[in-house]
Amino acid sequence: MMKKTLNIVLAGQANVGKSVIFNYLTGLHQHIGNWPGKTVGKAEGTLHYKGYTIDVLDLPGIYSLTTYSLEEIISRDFIALQKPDFVVNVLDATHLERNLLFTLQLLELERPMVLCLNMFNLLKEKGIEVDIEELQKTLGIPIVPTIAIQGKGITKVLDEGIELIEKKKTTKPLEYGKEVEEKINQLTKVLTDIDFAYPKRWLAIKLLEKDKIVEKLCAEKNPQILEKARDLCLELEKIHGHDSSIVVADERCHLCSKIIRRVIKVVRPRQISFAEKLDFITSHRIWGYPVMVAILGLMFLVIFNFGNWSSSQLGKIIFGWQAKWESAFGASVWSSLSWSAIQSALALVEIALPYIIPFYFLLFLLEDWGYLARVACLMDSFMHKVGVHGKASICLMLGFGCNVPACLSCRIMETQRERLITGFLATFIPCSAVTVIILGLVGKYVGMAWAFGLYLLVILTVFVLGKLTTTVLPGEPTELIMEMPDYKTPNLKTIIFQTFFRLKEFIFIAGPLVIISGILIRGVYLLGWLSKLANLLSPITVKWLGLPAICGVLLIFGILRKELILVMLASLLGTTKFFEVLTPVQMITLSVVSMFYIPCVATIATLRREFGWQKALTISLVKILFAITLAGLISKLLSTTL
């Protein structure tokens, strides 16, 4: 009986165009979620091809199958244990050598495999030729050149994969050097009679690499295996003078170089391309910084101008809807509550359309172009002073758009500790909603210099708190190891896809909570408890912060969405001429509180998803205390000096 459903996985390193291929194959029929119980993204999709229903799983972009990060363990376990029908290994043809290192590790897992030599068109530009036939012969698996962004060659990959299945072809791992190979064979023999879900040879290799997880697995079955492995490791170390894990890795490197020498031909000497000239300026040790400030500054300028314009357009459209609703359904409690649900949903659109979409779009544009890696590199030394490495700067940048994606993006950090620190710091970044407050209140009525000062305060806060948390939290900081991608022409389709899926994620996480809490607060309002709450808070708001009592209400609404603080201020005070009712000091104090006092519900929900309730609530509490203390001090200080 022929199987009509196929399970395939896409595997490859970062920046090889894997997601482009995934999008091409599955289009909008994809489901993005989490691996069960883990905060690692899982992207699945389905397509129909030549009578087959093919389930495609996009494995996280990784460097190796050694136990370095959660992503890597998940990937190797999936391939070894779930036994997908075949693996599509996507490679960047222009960086063949490093990509092949990963391919060799995949081959060790002994699943049928098709090699997808992507970005094949860029080889010519680089003056390189790849002898595909020779490579195919050496590796013993089908190889298909593709140009993913043009959709070229991708169906051929499927054809080759299906042929592998139909002809029941298997994949054989490549042989390493004699000494290592001999040790592998000895270990494989020891493992023969024991039942393992993983391939025996793979286990043997991992034992020589001193892989902790595999060591534990084998020790559970028979502790003697470990002893034997240790002996063999020692023998290897004696011969080579390095740790056996390095010896094995070196075997792969060596084999790779050998293959590369056979299949790659440089037909034209390297010329300095435009991309390289661009790189020279943008990553320059000095010029890189002004260029970065200019690029990012321009980006934010575009976003806020577009945001201002489009949100006022949206405001015009939505204006008067509430009156219409009330005239249609009356002003009963239920009508009022259901309107607040609609209002919350509309508010999501009002923040998503004008700010979040353009923000994501431009950010993914920079990423696809290759610039974000440069930012991470340029920011590394600064971020190190905070206690995390340069990649964290990307998460923090995302925070300026919205804290939700910022917290989600912390997954790019390698360890749980660094994810938590980065997530915590990201909640201190003023998102687009907070920026509306800062610019609308302080920028407009106190002066742009003061608004700018508040941003400096943010940077200072992140710096100090980062320093503090990295000292308090146990663990060692990880160092930056990052590939610098070549600059390439951004692909519009990829960017739109990414923006779309990120937006969907945002709405799914934020939506329900924003709507529920919108109804809740409206309920409190209808019960007449708002002013009571405001009075309850007045020791803090009036006495300590020196704000009008009404601000207590604002801060409660602000938990929902920060920009409500400004909207409610206008409606509660009955004027948008804030300078008539608030002193400059009060405006600054209110802004500082709004910036820091609590993550909005959507962000709290994200923090819970990423780090659990306990940490999410701790972060919220710390932020409230921090904001009240800081704003109170600033208020007292400014009152005496101004």
Binding site: Y63, S64, T66, Y68, H95, L96, E97, R98, L101, F102, E209, K210, H242, D243, S245, I246, A249, D250, C253, C256, S257, S283, R285, I286, G288, A373, A376, C377, L378, D380, S381, F382, H384, H389, G390, E479, L480, I481, M482, E483, M484
Partner: protein, 78 residues
Amino acid sequence: MKNELTLVNLKEGENAEITNICAGWMATKRLADLGLTPKTKIKVLRKTVMQGPIEIEVRGTRLALGRGLASKVLVKLV
């Protein structure tokens, strides 16, 4: 060994060969997976100011390594 050079000591544009890596198991493994093993030839492309990362070319790819990690990669000039 005396006069041990590390990646940090190299100047921009200098070519070198890795002699040893003296980092923890994880970091060493990570570097090895990226193709940085003893006897690998590398070239320093760029050094950044203020103790920032060092950019090197290795096996046709460009990598940025944090300064702390780079200081654990021992090299000799070639």
